[in-house]
């Protein structure tokens, strides 16, 4: 019996309650009364995956249908996986403990490129053939969705169907089709063929890719009736979209363990490096009344001590101050912490700060991304130094003494002068702190500067750009270390080899499938964990597969190059991305969606801010 087997091994692994389920609000159904069993697989550990809002939404959505049962599956940590393989325990759903190979559908979420090897590992642990072509009618259908679905080409050999865009509507539409296929006894091939009739569903096996002599993509040709391009789905009216009233409350400590409401979807800003801002267009808000109701029902059903207002840029919410006023009344009475991540520097005000006073004064985070105004204009991050300093002033006067600033290294047109501005800005912030009357405590300022490496992503104006070489990034990190000497500033950066691998996979084509397979086979898993990533193994794999990572990461693309994702349509036009890229090189900024429509192409979808009066 599985329970007995698990009892033997659970005390030998780290944080065993990640593998036992039974949490409050987990959905248990009678499997004999269920027509479709869905395994939602998050390709990382329980502690990471349980924070994923998409999982919470789709889990509740699918379970809201009486005859569907959605269960959660996470990647077992290395110690647990070893014991599972040793004792022949296949990957199981956390609700039923049934092996997921017996389920109807397996759905993976593609959150970040470095989780790809985990997908293969989980399929293997489940006993499901890793290659889609080797699965037969007895195996579950393997689907995937999420942000990386915009360029899933490096893993198309392993996934049957991919969902582009918002999942709330298309998931139920497809599951209804699946029910029909089961009733009428369709073959797997037939189901895949019929699935692409639903807008937003991409079946990679129905496309042939040809390459030019210089290894760029020549053509992406659909077979039979498969659409030439697959359009993403959006939920036009977020207020009408499904949102859970309950969240599962984990026993184990997980990241971001709190109630979360999605304030808005999309972003108006158009920062040229930010893929999410383009993928999730158009900008759509949830109404204030709806949000307050969701906060209350989530807090009552979970007992969480913190609630987070989540989105790409929460301070852009139209009625942000009214929303906060209403919420603070409730959260203060119920002794719940209100957390507001993603605050833009230019919408930061004393009023806003006063409202979220209940947040523990652990510090504020801003993301200028570039040190000089010139470079900020290039990336269209429309924030002035004056705004940065005045926001810091408000924060310091409000009692905050700790500020974290995010910057990127390797942005297009970046020069050493731009980098030097990071140090100049830091010094100005420190001087500002000490110029203000001290508020009674003797705490000095703590300024943290985080430098990440820029990764060019598909569907952004910078999808044509090369990533800076590892050597150049290392030089730049050294430059800043030498420039920033103050003990009041702590400098940190992420590992450049990790960013390089991310850049390779982000704009990869189908030829990378064999590299990902080989990497997994040679033992690569949990690549997004610094203690697990083995870049030597990856280097070896690329050599053996005769693939050059520099071709994907460090090569400048021409405006007319056929990208591996050209057949996937996120409604932001190629012409717009090109014109934004040109504007970047000219140092010209673009207005945000609220100020003026800049005709990116998404208005065709007739939703959100595109159809609002501005």
């Amino acid at each position: 019996m599985l329970q007995e087997k698990l009892d033997k091994i659970l005390l030998k692994v780290n944080k065993p309650s990640r593998y036992t389920g039974g949490e409050v609000n987990a959905v248990i159904k009678d499997k004999s009364k269920v027509d479709v069993r869905y395994a939602f697989c998050f390709p990382d550990t329980y502690d990471i995956g349980m924070s994923h809002l998409g999982l919470k939404i789709l889990y509740s959505l699918i379970n809201s249908k009486e005859n569907y049962w959605c269960e959660r599956v996470f990647a077992p940590w290395i110690d647990m996986e070893e014991l599972m393989r040793k004792h022949s325990i296949p990957l199981y759903g956390l609700e039923s403990f049934d092996p997921i190979i017996d389920f109807d559908v397996i759905g993976f979420t593609l959150q970040y490129e470095l989780s790809y090897t985990n997908i293969l590992n989980m399929l293997d642990l489940a006993g499901i053939p890793v290659y889609a072509s080797e699965r037969d009618d007895s195996h579950p259908i393997v689907m995937a969705g999420g942000p990386c679905a915009c360029n899933p080409e490096p893993i198309t050999d392993f996934i049957d169907l991919i969902v582009l865009g918002d999942g709330e509507e298309v998931t139920l539409e497809w599951l209804a089709l699946y029910e029909q296929s089961k009733r009428e006894g369709w073959s797997r091939k037939e189901l895949i063929k019929r699935s692409v009739e639903i807008e937003g569903i991409y079946a990679p096996s129905l496309y042939d890719i040809s390459y030019n002599a210089d290894d760029t993509v020549k053509a992406i040709t659909p077979q039979g009736d498969a659409p030439k391009s697959v359009k993403k789905r959006i939920v036009k009216d977020l207020d009408k979209a499904f949102y859970p009233e309950k969240f599962i409350v984990p026993y184990a400590q997980t990241v971001f363990d709190r109630a979360t409401v999605e304030v808005l979807r999309g972003c108006i800003r158009g920062c040229r490096f930010c893929q999410a801002g383009y993928l999730y267009r158009p900008y759509r808000e949830r109404s204030r009344g709806n949000l307050v109701g969701q906060v209350k029902s989530l807090c009552e059903n979970t007992g969480y001590e913190e609630v987070s207002l989540s989105s790409l840029s929460t301070s852009d919410y139209g009625e942000i101050e009214q929303l906060l006023s209403e919420l603070v009344d409730y959260t203060e009475e119920e002794r719940i912490n209100l957390s507001m991540p993603s605050m833009r520097i230019d919408s930061f005000s004393k009023e806003l700060l006063d409202k979220v006073k209940s947040v523990r004064k652990s510090g504020l985070t801003f993301a200028p991304e570039a040190g000089s105004q010139r470079l900020r204009d290039v990336i269209n991050k429309n924030i002035t130094e004056e705004e940065i300093l005045s926001s810091c002033k408000i924060a310091f006067e409000g009692g905050y003494s700790s500020v974290k600033l995010y910057f990127m290294l390797g942005l297009p047109t970046e020069t050493d002068e731009d980098l030097a501005e990071i140090e100049v800005l830091s010094r100005k912030i420190i001087d500002l702190f000490y110029s203000l009357p001290r508020r009674g405590n003797n705490k000095g300022i703590q300024l943290s500067i985080s430098l990440s490496t820029f990764v060019p992503k598909p569907f952004t104006p910078f999808e044509f750009e090369p990533q800076d070489s590892e050597e150049r990034i290392a030089e730049k990190q050294k430059l800043l270390t030498n420039l920033i000497r103050s003990r009041k500033i702590s400098l940190s950066w992420n590992d450049v080899k990790t960013s390089r691998l991310e850049a390779t996979l982000a704009r990869g084509d189908r030829r990378l499938n064999k590299a990902i397979y080989a990497a997994w086979k040679s033992g690569c898993v949990f690549d997004s964990w610094s203690e697990c990533l083995d870049t030597n193994k990856w280097e070896k794999v690329f050599k053996e597969c005769e693939l050059d990572p520099a071709f994907y990461a460090n090569r400048k693309r021409e405006y007319n190059e056929v990208m591996p994702w050209s057949h996937l349509d996120y409604m932001v036009s190629r012409e717009f991305l090109i014109s934004e890229n040109i504007a970047a090189y000219e140092g010209k900024t673009t207005l945000n969606c609220r100020e003026h429509c800049t005709n990116c192409g998404v208005a065709k979808m007739q939703g959100g801010i595109c159809v609002e009066k501005r």
């Binding site: 009892d7 033997k8 659970l10 005390l11 944080k15 065993p16 309650s17 036992t20 389920g21 039974g22 949490e23 409050v24 409350v249 026993y251 184990a252 400590q253 009552e300 059903n301 979970t302 007992g303 969480y304 001590e305 119920e334 002794r335 523990r360």
Partner: protein, 217 residues
């Protein structure tokens, strides 16, 4: 303001919930039950929930205690029913009353242990011997060996070919505390070269006792 002591059981898969996790879990259950509990004052106010006598991960228990302070007078039956409806999966409220003894008065714990072993006869011999030496760790003094025979009471011991059952009282107070797993670790260590192994072990803490021999409550 009234101090209330809640007794609950921790069984089945709940045994894998660590002490810290249990604390968070109960706080959230109390919040969902909308019980008017007292929060600590000061810079970082939090719900006052005091857990007594921590349990090792993997051990089941019929005698877990947590103390809270209620701001309003509520009947014990109502507290039990409101809190019970917010708990599941091996956590069950047993009773609710005013605290009788102080936490520091807990002296010993009663355990029922079922062990699957390939030589139960030797294990029984080991436990029943005149001397029962186990290895303990101390922060400052490192590892040391102690004979726990004088401080333990074996209330029941029986075994068959595969299984051994023992009902044992072990010291479990602020001064001295013996974790039952130490006995079996010592057994395995001394029989390591004789190919005797413990296959599995189920430990259930059934009761806590005070110095005067009274049941803790």
């Amino acid at each position: 303001m009234k101090s209330v002591r809640i007794k609950f059981s921790k069984l089945s898969t709940a045994k894998y919930i660590s002490h810290l996790d249990l604390s968070r879990c109960m706080q959230r259950a109390i919040k969902r039950a909308a019980l008017p509990v007292w929060y600590t004052e000061g810079f970082n106010p939090h719900m006052y929930v005091n857990f007594l006598s921590p349990l090792s991960l993997g051990t089941e228990s019929l005698c877990e205690f947590m103390d809270i302070r209620l701001l309003e007078d509520i009947e014990p039956e109502e507290i039990i029913s409101r809190l019970s409806s917010q708990l599941q999966g091996g956590l069950n409220i047993i009773s609710c009353a005013s605290p009788m003894y102080k936490n520091t008065e807990i002296e010993s714990a009663q355990y029922e242990i079922t062990v699957k072993c390939n030589d139960t006869k030797e294990l029984a011999k080991f436990i029943s011997a005149d001397k029962l030496e186990v290895k303990k760790q101390r922060k400052k003094h490192g590892e040391y060996v102690i004979d726990i025979k004088p401080t333990i009471i074996i209330d029941k011991l029986n075994f068959d070919e595969n299984k051994l059952f023992i009902d044992i009282n072990l010291p479990s107070g602020v001064h001295e505390s013996i974790n039952p797993s130490l006995i079996f670790e010592a057994f395995e260590a001394s029989y390591a070269d004789k190919n005797v192994t413990i296959d599995s072990m189920q430990i259930l803490r059934t009761n806590l006792f005070c110095e005067n021999g009274k049941e803790f409550r």
